[in-house]
């Protein structure tokens, strides 16, 4: 037995994203944001997208390109504080925004990736974040039902991938990537390096390749990946 090869070109990877798709995009700030896959999705042009991403990056960077190009109908996120452009689109009604507590967004995505229906949590009970949510009593205490999130596509940034799609991340670039890499029907990875099978030791794999469908090696790292001077 040998493990299958999942490497492909950027065009093959991004092909097949459709208008109306739900797209998970890794990253917390710059680290872990798949800047190149995002640019490819802009070039691809799919519209009416629902994005699931921790934050909206900053104006002129990351998913802001998708907001600028008008491809986004809806954004499920935790915080837009660094992107005034995104807040403007939200306030004008040009995009619909759903805010989640950050760890609850993480758990909803993970639940999708784990084939669960939902998690029950007490986070936000007694605040406006609980408004409209289904409540379940368990042992006499109320819990909010936080439904699992799945996506049609996940765009993932990894430090290293092997041919099978085993992934390793570095630093705080991990964040939502390992969770989203479990939770989409099709998982597309951009990796700073693609290694032969065995190039990532079995004990050091962060995301097992079984979750991954396509691996694209980054030839260059654009300026967007670099340290941001504010």
């Amino acid at each position: 037995m040998r493990l299958p090869d999942k490497t492909c070109t950027m065009e093959e990877a991004i092909f097949g994203i459709r208008d109306g798709d739900t797209v998970m995009i890794g990253g917390f700030g710059v680290p872990g944001t798949p800047m190149t896959l995002i640019r490819a999705l802009v070039d691809h042009g799919a519209r009416d997208l629902t994005l699931i991403k921790n934050d909206a990056n900053e104006p002129g960077m990351g998913i802001d390109h998708l907001l600028q190009s008008g491809q986004v109908a809806r954004l499920i996120t935790t915080h837009l504080g660094l992107n005034s452009h995104a807040i403007g689109l939200m306030n004008s009604g040009a995009i619909q925004v759903e805010f989640n507590a950050q760890g609850i967004l993480a758990e909803r995505i993970r639940a999708g990736g784990a084939g669960l229906g939902a998690v029950l949590s007490d986070i936000g009970i007694g605040t406006e974040l609980a408004a409209g949510k289904q409540v379940v009593e368990m042992n006499g205490s109320p819990y909010l039902v936080e439904p699992a999130l799945r996506a049609d596509v996940a765009l993932i940034h990894a430090d290293r991938a092997d041919l099978f799609g085993n992934l390793a991340y570095v630093g705080t670039a991990q964040n939502f990537n390992p969770l989203m890499a479990m939770a989409a029907r099709r998982v597309i990875v951009e990796a700073e390096a693609v290694l032969p099978l065995g190039g990532i030791a079995a004990n050091d794999v962060h995301t097992p390749g079984v979750f991954v469908d396509h691996v694209v090696e980054l030839e260059t790292l654009s300026k967007e990946y670099a340290v941001v001077q504010r």
Binding site: M1, L3, P4, A114
Partner: protein, 210 residues
């Protein structure tokens, strides 16, 4: 029958082979066949079995057998392992059976009063793998059919089984019940019909053998 079942594995699949007969399927895969074998105790990329003399004390499959890795193997915890199963990343699982019903119900974990060690990971494999096939003897030790109109034993999962490989035949579970696909070399269709505890849909043409 094990060799025949091995042909069920298509290139590129992620496969979990249950304890018992299914484990032997691996012996019928070519060394360069592109497949990812999963074991629920936390490994993708199972390599050949190991003897006691060369075994790694930290490297077993879910049945407790000593195994090896292949280039590109990955280790993970039990939550991630079943996330693979429940989220639909398992293309195929091959399981043993006490009983299979004509609607694809599977009973393979409990015989009340006799055998109840717990279901382990079997429930999730049966319920969530994209394709569930069963490898089993056609009849139990007492000579009773294991393929029945309805299961009498507690179920592992409902309506999950798509195909059954036995020592006598390959049988599909269809919307109209069991359908005979192939017979083992030297076994007649009539013998399979007699050994099966529910009606068997027979093909119009001759039945292939394996």
């Amino acid at each position: 029958m094990v060799a025949r079942a091995a042909r069920e594995i298509a290139p590129g699949m992620v496969v979990n082979l249950g304890i018992g007969l299914p484990t032997q399927v691996v012996n019928h895969l070519a060394s360069d066949f592109p497949v990812c074998l999963h074991t629920e105790n936390g490994l993708t990329g199972i390599g050949p079995a190991k003897g006691y003399d060369t075994a790694d004390r930290n490297l077993i499959d879910a049945g407790g057998a000593y195994v090896s890795t292949v280039p590109g193997s990955a280790f993970f915890d039990s939550a991630t392992s079943f996330a693979i199963v429940r989220s639909g990343r398992l293309d195929l699982t091959m399981l043993g059976a006490f009983e299979v019903s004509a609607t694809g119900d599977l009973a393979n974990w409990k015989i009340p009063g006799k055998f109840s060690p717990g279901a382990g990971g079997g429930i999730e494999l049966a319920q969530k793998a994209r394709r569930v096939v069963v490898l089993t003897s056609h009849m139990d030790r007492a000579g009773n059919p294991k393929l029945k109109q309805a299961c009498a034993l507690p179920l592992t999962a409902r309506g999950c089984v798509e195909r059954i490989f036995t020592d006598m035949a390959v049988i599909d579970v269809t919307p109209r019940g069991f359908a005979l696909i192939e017979t083992a070399e030297g076994i007649s269709t009539a013998e399979v019909v007699r050994a099966t505890g529910a009606p068997l849909i027979l093909p119009d043409a001759a039945v292939p053998t394996f």
